[in-house]
């Protein structure tokens, strides 16, 4: 009875196309936004910020980026981490070459660089499809990580080969580096992620989203009804890589504080892919749900056994984590290939009719 939609008529196409045509969905969203913007910042501990809130947001954004390419446009990519790296290193170079630039602007601009590289590595998708394309994206993944290591200019010839985030201010407040407070960084990440999520929602609900889905579902038919496949695919690579690049810059500048080239290696690519798959390919909400699961799981595995008095070494926790994620992937693919997003929709359908059976 909470989710009764009877009686809510949409009286114009505009209303039907609205994001949340059902009032209960809108209410739910406002509650979530309230928690995100008001409740959490004032009640969360340092630990919660650093291990849960901030990484969940950043991983969600990266997964949204990947989802555009793989879930909406149907181009499987295994190189997400490398493009995050491009964003991170681009941001680092901008910060160090132009220290007067506002760091948040730098973070957003770094997406432009990763978008450019993304389009370049996306050109093969015009000729190569499916698994072969996935392997081609591995070329980008391995080559870029090698480049991050060998091209010393990227890390300012630092002897350790790593980049360190310096203290950076925006409008008088420290937003990055050891001096920045978690709550400030949280707001920056939340702001960027919210903004880009809105942009992606807009892009996917209109013509571009349909064009991408047509490219994914049956590219020959799409071609024949007027879709310029080249433009469609390259736009997907561009938008996707932009977002992934920004996520990469946030990853280093707003969370980890430092980075080595192997941070952006294949395991990170797979982690983002799992978030997108378990969350639900072709959805936006799913990425958030997937990130909550993937980020939350090791935390749960670490804290719960301790709380129950069962000692498990942290190495074992790590291995268990990997095993569970693997099983979850298989589980979801068997039970609900459309991921947590679809599970939520099914729950919602049930809620609409509850307490009646249909």
């Amino acid at each position: 009875m909470f989710f009764r939609t009877v009686g809510q008529f949409k009286t114009s196409y505009r209303k039907d196309q609205a994001l949340f045509p059902v009032r209960q969905d809108a209410v739910l969203l406002w509650v979530i936004l309230l928690f995100a913007w008001v409740v959490f910042p004032f009640t969360a501990s340092e630990f919660t910020f650093q291990t849960l809130l901030i990484p969940i947001l950043i991983y969600s954004l990266a997964a949204i980026g990947l989802n555009i390419l793989t879930g909406y446009a149907g181009q499987l990519s295994l190189g997400t981490a490398a493009f995050m790296g491009v964003g991170a290193y681009a941001c680092y170079k901008m910060i160090t070459l132009m220290p007067w630039m506002n760091p948040i602007v730098a973070i957003l601009l770094s997406g432009v660089f990763s978008a450019g590289i993304g389009v370049a590595f996306g050109i093969p998708s015009l000729r190569i499809k499916g698994f072969y394309l996935a392997i081609a994206t591995l070329a980008a993944q391995f080559f870029l990580v090698w480049l991050f290591e060998k091209w010393a200019w990227l890390y300012n010839y630092n002897a350790s080969g790593a980049i360190q985030v310096p203290n950076l201010k925006s409008m008088g407040v420290y937003v990055a580096g050891p001096q920045a407070s978690s709550i400030v960084q949280y707001y920056v990440v939340l702001g960027v992620v919210t903004f880009l999520t809105i942009v992606v929602i807009n892009l996917t609900r209109g013509n571009l989203g349909r064009t991408w889905k047509a490219t994914r579902d049956m590219d020959i038919a799409a071609d024949l009804i007027g879709v310029n496949l080249m433009k469609s695919k390259l736009t997907a690579f561009a938008v996707s890589s932009f977002i992934v690049g920004v996520a990469g810059a946030l990853f280093v500048f707003m969370w980890r504080g430092a980075a080595e080239p192997n941070l952006f290696d294949i395991p990170l690519s797979f982690r983002i892919l799992f978030i997108a798959i378990i969350g639900g390919l072709g959805s936006i909400l799913g990425n958030y749900l997937g990130a909550i699961l993937i980020v939350g799981l090791p935390v749960v595995l670490n804290t719960v056994p301790e709380a129950l008095g069962l000692p498990i070494s942290s190495a074992t926790v790590e291995h268990l984590n990997i095993m569970i994620v693997g099983s979850l992937i298989v589980f979801f693919l068997i039970i609900e290939p459309h991921g947590l997003n679809q599970l939520w929709r099914l729950i919602r359908e049930k809620l609409i009719t509850w307490p009646f059976p249909h």
């Binding site: 196409y13 209109g206 799409a222 024949l224 009804i225 007027g226 310029n228 736009t235």
Partner: protein, 274 residues
């Protein structure tokens, strides 16, 4: 009646106007490696008419539609559209010229609803750039509503209101065919290509589909070229017929003319070729 191939238009007995030549295929030859799918075929399609392409299985009819679509490029021959010779074009460019199509095996986008599938048909008419779409409010939203209105007209026309929001993968075959037709109509094409629109349908469904095809031609003036196996349908609704067999043209004229053509009868009865 004998038609002369000039640009003069004429009025049919049931009151429709058939215009001059819209599309002309001249000496088209299409080969796949050693196999000759289409051999030196020429025919034309006049504006406003319903042109049937018939022939036994494997005659090359679908390949001919693919050539018109720009999906296959003939090794020899020319295609003339609205009096201009057409250079080698990509399929999406051909689509933008006003040629839309349905497919023998349904080619709907299974990850989308009926409504979204038909909206993809409006693609060639939508103008908002990526920036406008990212902002949504204002230009993009307005355009979306306008095209939604156009699509709803077609949904009404084809009587598929109830399945608007259903994912097309869940629809029964007959309805999927109707949605595919709706998607093609949404493009407001000058030339509509239908590849076996009645395949797999029972008598009632065929009557419905025939009615829709005639209505489309009547109300919107759309020129239609269709491949069809049901002879009754072909004789009933088409103005002119092209007959293909083994990649060659063996008949071209009004349904009555073609029906009496001995070669055509032979082809269908399976008389051995020399």
């Amino acid at each position: 009646m004998s038609l002369d191939t000039t640009t003069d238009s004429y009025v049919t007995p049931d009151g429709r106007t058939i215009g001059g030549v819209m599309m002309e295929m001249k000496n088209i030859t299409l080969r796949f490696g050693g196999v000759v799918a289409i051999k030196d075929i020429s025919f034309d399609i006049r504006e406003g008419e319903i042109r049937a392409i018939i022939g036994p299985n494997g005659a090359g009819k679908s390949s001919m539609l693919n050539v018109i679509n720009g999906f296959y490029h003939p090794q020899e021959g020319e295609i003339w559209f609205h009096g201009k010779k057409r250079g080698p074009m990509k399929p999406h460019e051909v689509a933008r010229q006003g040629i839309a199509r349905t497919f023998q095996n349904i080619a709907l986008f299974n990850g989308m609803t009926t409504l979204d599938n038909i909206m993809t048909g409006r693609l060639t008419h939508m103008k908002s750039g990526i920036l406008a779409q990212a902002i949504w409010k204002g230009k993009a939203e307005k355009e979306e509503s306008e095209h939604r209105e156009a699509v709803e007209k077609i949904i009404d026309f084809l009587e598929i209101q109830a399945i608007r929001k259903t994912p097309v993968g869940r629809l029964p075959y007959g309805l999927q065919k109707r949605v595919e037709l709706a998607r093609a109509l949404a493009a407001e094409p000058k030339l509509l290509l239908l590849d076996e629109p009645m395949a797999g349908m029972n008598v009632e469904e065929k009557e419905d589909m025939s009615r829709f095809i005639l209505d489309v031609n009547d109300e919107f003036g759309t020129t239609i070229a269709l491949i069809e196996h049901d002879m009754g349908v072909v004789m009933d609704i088409s103005d002119r017929v092209v007959v293909m067999d083994y990649g060659k043209k063996i008949g071209d004229g009004s349904p009555d003319d073609v029906r009496k053509n001995q070669e055509v009868i032979d082809a269908y009865l399976g008389v051995a070729h020399d």
